[in-house]
Amino acid sequence: MNYVLLAPEILLTVLALIVIFIGLLVSDRSKNMLGYISAAGLVASLVYVLGTKGEGSFFYNALVIDPLSQFFKLIFIVVSLLAVIASIKYFENNRNQDEYYALILLATVGMMVVASANDLVSLFVGFELASMSTYVLAGFEKKNPASLEAALKYFIIGSLSSALMLFGMSLVYGVTGSTNITAIIEFFKANPAVSGLDVIAMVFLVAGFGFKMALVPFHMWAPDTYEGSPSVVSALLAAGSKKMGFVAAFRVLVLALVALRADLWVTFGILAVITMTYGNIVAISQRSIKRMLAYSSIAQAGYIALAFVVTTQMSIAGGILLALGHALMKGGAFIAVAVVGYMVLSDNKNAKNIDDIENFAGLGKRAPITAFALFVFFLALAGIPPSAGFIGKFVLFYSITIEAVRQASTWFLIVVIIAILNSALSIYYYARVIRYMYVLPPAGEKIKEPAPYVIAIVLAVIGTIGIGLYPQPFIEMAMNAANVVLGV
């Protein structure tokens, strides 16, 4: 049992403390370096995660390192990295940077813990660690009422659902007599008779995770929070902590349900379909781009949730791939919106609703890199090849189609057709923004896009297209992860 495998978590935790500590000592001026430090730390842990192969379990099997956890850690670290890099500019000369970066790092650690949690306790702790850090981050612009309102709503719904989750966990513990997931699964395997209580417990867990995943009907907080929070934080939330819900669901629900032979596919099917349709339809009528992105990420959550409908290796691999893709695309998109915000503010100090679609007019001329990046992200989100979004959807839809074929089930067919129509529909609002960026005349002169933003965005673009052009390794990783999920 070599704790070296936990090096990333440890590194980041320590780094968070160091950042706060430095923050105490140095002057506000020189706090700008903290961003670079934390970025460096994230890079280091990313390299480590990519580099190490081994598996293992720690703390009486409360944490495990396996393909699933590694894959999601990859996602979380990448997203936080993007957020941090962007923040170097976004929170430039902010005198609370130290807390900010520390919180981001802690949130990352929390997500990573969830990714590798194999015990309800560690799962809960990780969940809460990530949640609480992000509550604060969401409200980090203390003078901005929108930001605070976002934080408040996020906090209230978040803590409500963590209460639900805890309640569900308590029931699970009550039924199975253990908090260790492996043991729980064993128990369910041993006596699969559905007693009703365990199903209720499952529902509570669904509610708890569904809050993070922003599945309808547990999504209500998401649009407001994503809109109100600082764009970089929205990036972190949409791209990162959302996936936390998924990995938790993969870890607990899928296994438990498989063990229980309680096929909830109808439930999840309905949830998924409603979620994607809702997200797309509402996104069409948005003028605030951040809000539009929020709804689009609800829709994406709907697509990913299709993985629960047919719990096959293919479908779960597809879900995981789409999660990865979505992390890159959404993260990048929010950061791009941050650039636009920067642009608008540099035009006029006290501009209101800076992410209004009008501000995207002629972006192609004003901020070419950002515009092109957004163009890529949007098309990828719409599932146009070659892109991470396409690969994810491709595998996901494929898995459901073949289930429809294999079981000759009309319902699966209907589900996948609805999904298809949705992704066609989504083109509408993406294309509208693209039109604003490239077709309409610019509202101001060309700006110089700040280096940190550009780096973050370009990284995201490279990731999005790279996965689309060479998905081979990622598909393999996803497949292995899926095997873990299915306990094979």
Binding site: L152, A207, P217, D224, A283
Partner: protein, 668 residues
């Protein structure tokens, strides 16, 4: 050696077309001499070929084209006489045009198009397969379209061009359908009846068609031939597709002379003559002993001859009179093919072709004379002419000759059993033969209707043509515009044509003998439904001439001597006169009602409505598009922004899920 280079007959004018089109502007008189030289070349080669193959030779060349079709040359008697006529007349008219078009800035275009036309027409004549025939046939139509619309800035000209193309197009589609049907039938008998095409032959070659005709299912054959005839009806302006030809007079007069008198319009007749064996082979279901196809050809032809002549009586536009006369004469040719074909077999082709060529000469002459008159007085309306005889003698005399030829004036000595040969104009020989054929048909098959129509048409013919001549050249001038004789370049062709119009008739017997051999050369035997020997009484023999002369006298009396006043007759009060003047309301019916109102107004517009309003507007835009947006607007309002509602939605969802699963699993 001419046989080998016979491809040049077509290629020379094509070359001339290309050169004139691109270099015409730089050359003197719009490069007129290029086509003239080229067509002269074609004429010489045709002549040479004729001399080579006379009396019983043929030229056959064939190259594979695409998908089992071929391009080829077949110069048999039928083709060679036509070749000589077309190239010769075209040559004369080109020469004439140098003078006639002298002042037109667009000369190069004119000469380019006419030489293209000549090329296409020649290719129609010498093609050895129905596909190439059809293609050239279409190109001829194209040139006609271009040349009718030569003065495209005149709306009437543009409209006429369009009408000509569309109306003939109707025929062409039938023709095409015939080809399709033929192709399918031949390939079927290849499989079913073990019919084989020996190497070197191709599926759509005439020779193949004639052999296949014996095997093809009779009703199918009738259908095919009638579809072909439909094409002929379109091109040759037979009823009911005759309407475009009078309108086509919007083009330059030379064009009318070349295309709408001498050559293109006769292509329809030529088509029927070409595929004559198939017509003869059709079964006789309607009237015993008469192939159905021929019967229909006969009736359509006869009726058209009469029908067009009636309209010729009242037209005031000099060219329209001639146009209707052309339609009527083409009717005669069809009539000949139909009636004589039923009783005399292959001889009918000779008779019809003879009239075709004679008609080509005198009708071209008539048009060119008309052209020179128009050139002189600057109007088309014969009511504004008159008394021109003194001013333009050559034109007047040549036109008189042509008129006599058209009226078919002569004296049938031999026909009356005298030991002298018949004396008369070309038209006399050719038309008499046709009427005789109709008569014999009537005698043998006991059906005199075609003959009656022919005789009546003959009478009207001579009336309207001399009405024209008298009103133009005699009496006192009705316009004070100073007219003068046309330049030599225009009058010389007139004289040459006049000579032919006078003397061509005497080649009658030789011509018959030669052309009849045609199908024997292609070793296709034609079943002749011979009746018993036939000796009409002298009066019958004289009848055509008599009616001709009678017609002349009538029109002399009316239009020269003014013996009876026409004003009552030609008043708009007279319904018959109105009917004729409005051309039996054919333009109205065809163009306005069927063309514009029905097709465009009703069908197309309703289609547009369905497409835009229902398929697109209703389904795509409103039902799908609008609903989505409305839904979005409604659903987004759920996001009230009040956090308690969010919480309630969350808990509500939780409750619903629990209930759902309770229903599913039960328990507790």
């Amino acid at each position: 050696m001419f046989g080998e280079i016979s491809a040049l007959i077509v290629l020379l004018p094509v070359l001339a077309f290309v050169l004139t089109l691109f270099l015409g502007k730089k050359l003197p008189s719009g490069g007129a001499y290029l086509p003239i030289a080229a067509i002269a070349g074609s004429f010489i080669i045709s002549l040479g070929t004729f001399l080579e193959i006379y009396p019983d030779g043929m030229v056959q060349q064939s190259w594979p084209w695409f998908a089992g079709m071929n391009i080829g040359i077949l110069i048999d008697p039928l083709a060679v006489v036509m070749l000589m006529m077309v190239s010769f007349v075209s040559l004369l008219i080109h020469i004439y045009a140098v003078g006639y078009m002298a002042h037109d800035p667009a000369k190069p275009r004119y000469f380019a198009e006419t030489s293209l036309f000549t090329a296409a027409m020649l290719s129609v004549v010498l093609s050895d397969n129905i596909l190439q025939f059809f293609i050239s046939w279409e190109l001829v139509g194209l040139c006609s379209f271009l040349l009718i619309g030569f003065w495209y800035h005149k709306p009437s000209a543009a409209a006429a061009a369009k009408k000509a193309f569309l109306v003939t197009r109707v025929g062409d589609v039938l023709f095409l359908a015939g080809i399709v049907l033929l192709y399918v039938n031949i390939s079927e008998i290849i499989t079913t009846r073990a019919f084989s095409i020996e190497p070197g032959n191709f599926i759509l070659q005439f020779s193949t068609m004639f052999e296949a005709a014996k095997l093809i299912d009779p009703t199918q054959l009738t259908l095919i031939t009638l579809l072909f005839f439909g094409g002929a009806v379109g091109k040759s302006g037979q009823f009911p597709l005759h309407g475009w030809l009078p309108d086509a007079m919007e083009g330059p007069t030379t064009v009318s002379a070349l295309i709408h008198a001498a050559t293109m319009v006769t292509a329809g007749v030529y088509l029927v003559a070409r595929t004559f064996p198939m017509f003869v082979a059709t079964p006789d279901t309607i009237s015993p002993g008469v192939p159905d196809a021929l019967l229909i050809v006969a009736y359509v032809g006869g009726f058209t001859a009469l029908f067009a002549a009636t309209m010729g009586l009242v037209m005031n536009d000099i060219k329209r009179v001639l146009a209707y006369s052309t339609v009527s004469q083409l009717g005669y040719m069809m009539l000949a093919l139909g009636t004589a074909g039923a009783v005399l077999g292959a001889k009918a082709v000779g008779i019809s072709m003879f009239h075709l060529i004679a008609h080509a000469f005198f009708k071209a002459l008539l048009f060119l004379c008309a052209g020179s008159v128009i050139h002189a007085v600057g109007t088309n309306d014969i009511r504004e002419m008159g008394g021109l005889f003194g001013k333009m003698k050559i034109t007047a005399i040549t036109m008189l000759i042509a008129a006599l030829a058209l009226a078919g004036i002569g004296f049938p000595f031999a026909g009356l059993g005298m030991p002298i040969m018949n004396i008369g104009t070309a038209g006399f020989f050719s038309k008499d033969a046709i009427i005789e054929g109709a008569l014999e048909y009537g005698e043998v098959k006991g059906d005199m209707i075609p003959y009656g129509m022919a005789i009546l048409a003959a009478l009207l013919t001579s009336i309207y043509i001399f009405r024209l001549w008298f009103m133009t050249f005699t009496g006192k001038p009705r316009s004070e515009r100073h007219a003068h004789e046309s330049p030599g370049v225009m009058t010389r062709p007139l004289m040459i044509l006049a000579i032919f119009a006078l003397l061509f008739g005497f080649s009658q017997l030789g011509f018959y003998g030669y052309v009849e051999k045609n199908f024997e050369l292609m070793n296709v035997e034609i079943a002749v439904h011979e009746g018993e020997a036939f000796h009409p009484s002298p009066i019958i023999v004289m009848l055509p001439v008599i009616v001709g002369v009678l017609g002349i006298l009538i029109s002399y009396a009316i239009y020269n001597r003014r013996m009876l006043d026409m004003s009552k007759l030609v008043s708009s009060g007279n319904p018959i006169y109105k009917l004729l003047l409005n051309r039996y309301y054919e333009p109205k019916l065809g163009a306005d009602i069927i063309g514009v109102k029905l097709t465009h107004g009703v069908v197309a517009q309703s289609g547009e409505f369905i497409d835009r309003k229902i398929i697109d507007g209703l389904v795509i835009d409103n039902i799908i598009g609008k609903t989505v947006f409305m839904l979005g607007e409604i659903v987004r309002k759920l996001q009230t922004g009040v956090v308690q509602n969010y919480a309630s939605v969350t808990l509500l969802g939780l409750g619903l899920l629990i209930i759902l699963l309770k229903i599913k699993f039960g328990g507790i």
